[in-house]
C-alpha cells in the first residue's frame, strides 16, 4: 500500500508550519509521528496534496512543571510520557494511559499532539487529558487560544482545532500524590480500547472520570462524578457509567456490551483509586 503522491515540506519552525497551513488551505496536513496519518494515507482514506512535517521541531517536545500545572509539548512521544519522571510524579495517569497504547514501536513514534488532534473516540491519552482537566493550546494566524479538553473533541475524529491551527501545548492540572486509575478493555493485546476509563481523584472529593469508546468523542462520565460528589458509594456510582452515552453498535462490540463494560471498568477504576 502506497500513499497517493504529495508535496513534502519539512517545517523548520512553528511559524513556517503555520504559514504553510495558511497558504495551502484544505489540501494540507501536518505530519507528527505519522502513526495515524500514514496508515490512513496508505489506505487512501486521506490524500493531502501537501504534507508539512513538524516531526523535527524539537522545541515542541518537552515536559515541564509550571506552578500547579504540568505542561507538555505536542511532539512528546508516548514513549517519553511512559518514562518521564515529571509525568510519573505529577500526572501519573498520563503515563498509565501512554503505556497502554499499541505496542513499543507505535509508542516510539506516536505523539500526544497527534493523538489528541486525530481525536479518535478511543484514544487513550484523550481519556487521561480529559480526567486531568487538560487545556489544549492552539496557535493560528491570529494568535493563541486555550481550548478546555471538555470542548476540544467535537465528533468522530474531529476537533475544535481550525484547519490553520497548530496544537502547540497541552496543560494539565497536577495531581501529585493523588489516586488515579486507567482501565482498558481491548480485544487483542495491541488493539485500541473497546472501552477505556481514566479516573483521577482530587483532594476536594471530586473525582474525575473519563470514558473512551462510549460515544463519538472521548467524554466525561458526568453522572458518575456527580453521584460520587454527593457521597454515593463507588459501587453504586459506577452503575451510572453509561448514562447519557450513545456508544457505537458495531462489529467490534454492541452498544449494550460497551455499556456493560463501562460499568465494570468504572467500578474497577474507582475501587483502585
Amino acid at each position: 500500500m502506497i500513499p497517493a503522491g504529495f508535496t513534502y515540506v519539512r517545517a523548520g519552525s512553528v511559524e513556517q508550519a503555520l504559514a504553510e497551513l495558511a497558504w495551502h488551505g484544505r489540501d494540507v496536513r501536518l505530519l507528527a509521528g505519522g502513526h495515524s496519518l500514514l496508515p490512513a494515507m496508505k489506505l487512501r482514506r486521506v490524500e493531502p496534496g501537501v504534507l508539512v512535517d513538524i516531526g523535527r521541531l524539537r522545541e515542541l517536545a518537552y515536559v515541564r512543571l509550571d506552578g500547579e500545572q504540568v505542561v507538555v509539548g505536542p511532539l512528546t512521544t508516548h514513549r517519553t510520557l511512559e518514562r518521564d519522571p515529571l509525568v510519573a510524579e505529577h500526572v501519573p495517569l498520563l503515563a498509565a494511559a501512554a503505556r497502554r497504547i499499541g505496542d513499543p514501536q507505535v509508542r516510539n513514534r506516536g505523539t500526544i499532539g497527534g493523538s489528541l488532534a486525530h481525536a479518535d473516540p478511543a484514544a487513550d491519552l484523550a481519556a487521561a487529558v480529559l480526567a486531568l482537566d487538560g487545556v489544549l493550546v492552539a496557535r493560528g494566524p491570529s494568535g493563541v487560544r486555550d481550548i478546555p479538553a471538555a470542548e476540544f473533541f467535537t465528533g468522530v475524529r474531529t476537533s475544535a482545532l481550525a484547519a490553520d491551527e497548530l496544537l502547540v501545548e497541552i496543560r494539565l492540572r497536577a495531581a501529585t500524590g493523588l489516586g488515579y486509575a486507567f482501565e482498558k478493555f481491548s480485544r487483542r493485546a495491541l488493539d485500541w480500547a473497546v472501552v477505556g476509563v481514566a479516573a483521577q481523584a482530587r483532594p476536594e472529593g471530586r473525582t474525575a472520570v473519563a470514558l473512551i469508546g462510549m460515544g463519538q468523542t472521548p467524554l466525561r462520565a458526568g453522572e458518575v462524578e456527580e453521584a460520587l460528589a454527593a457521597g454515593v458509594p463507588a459501587a453504586e456510582a459506577s452503575a451510572l457509567a453509561a448514562r447519557g452515552c450513545a456508544p457505537a453498535d458495531n462489529a467490534v462490540a454492541s452498544a449494550a456490551y460497551r455499556s456493560h463494560l463501562a460499568e465494570v471498568l468504572v467500578g474497577r477504576a474507582l475501587a483502585a483509586l
Binding site: G5, T7, L38, P39, Q105, R109
Partner: protein, 155 residues
C-alpha cells in the same frame, strides 16, 4: 526530493518520491531485503528496524522522515561470520520456523535488550508485543531472547 540516510553505518544518498516508505527505500533501492513486509498496516512488526537506535515499523515511516538519520537493519547486526547475540539466540533456541517474522523480532529484541539488559519473561513478551509470529507460538522466541540476554545482550 533528495534524502541521505545512513544504513548500517554507510551513507546512501538517493532521489526519492516523498511518498516512498522507508521499508521500500531499504528493500527496493538498497536491496537490503532482510527487512520484510508482512502486513503493510503497522501491525505485524516484520518491517521493524532501528531508526536512530529506536525500534520503528518501517512500513509506517517515510524515507523523507528518515533523511539525515541512522538506520540499522538485520543485515547490520551480524552475518554468517559473526552473529549478534540475539541472532545467535534465535539459532540456539530455535526461535524461528519459516523465518518471515524473524528480522523484525530480532530488531525488536535488540532494542529491548539495549534498554533492559536483563528483562523478565513478562518484559520480553511486552517488548515484542508489536511483532507477530504465525509459526512458533512465541515460547521459543522468548527463550531466544533470554539466551541472548545471558550471552552478550544487545550487541
Amino acid at each position: 526530493m533528495r534524502v541521505e540516510i545512513t544504513v548500517n553505518g554507510r551513507p546512501h544518498e538517493r532521489e526519492v518520491e516523498p511518498r516512498l516508505l522507508l521499508v521500500h527505500f531499504l528493500r527496493d533501492l538498497l536491496s537490503l531485503t532482510g527487512t520484510h513486509v508482512g502486513c503493510d498496516t503497522t501491525s505485524c512488526g516484520a518491517c521493524t528496524v532501528l531508526l536512530d537506535g529506536v525500534a520503528v515499523k518501517s512500513c509506517t515511516v517515510l524515507a523523507a522522515q528518515a533523511d539525515g538519520c541512522e538506520v540499522t537493519t538485520v543485515e547490520g547486526l551480524g552475518g554468517p561470520d559473526g552473529l549478534s547475540p540475539v541472532q545467535e539466540g534465535f539459532r540456539q533456541c530455535h526461535g524461528l520456523q519459516c523465518g518471515y517474522c524473524t528480522p523484525g523480532m530480532v530488531m525488536a529484541a535488540t532494542a529491548l535488550l539495549a534498554e533492559r539488559p536483563d528483562p523478565s519473561e513478562q518484559e520480553i513478551r511486552d517488548g515484542l508485543k508489536g511483532n507477530m509470529c504465525r509459526c512458533t507460538g512465541y515460547q521459543m522466541i522468548v527463550e531466544s531472547v533470554q539466551w541472548a540476554a545471558a550471552n552478550g545482550g544487545a550487541r
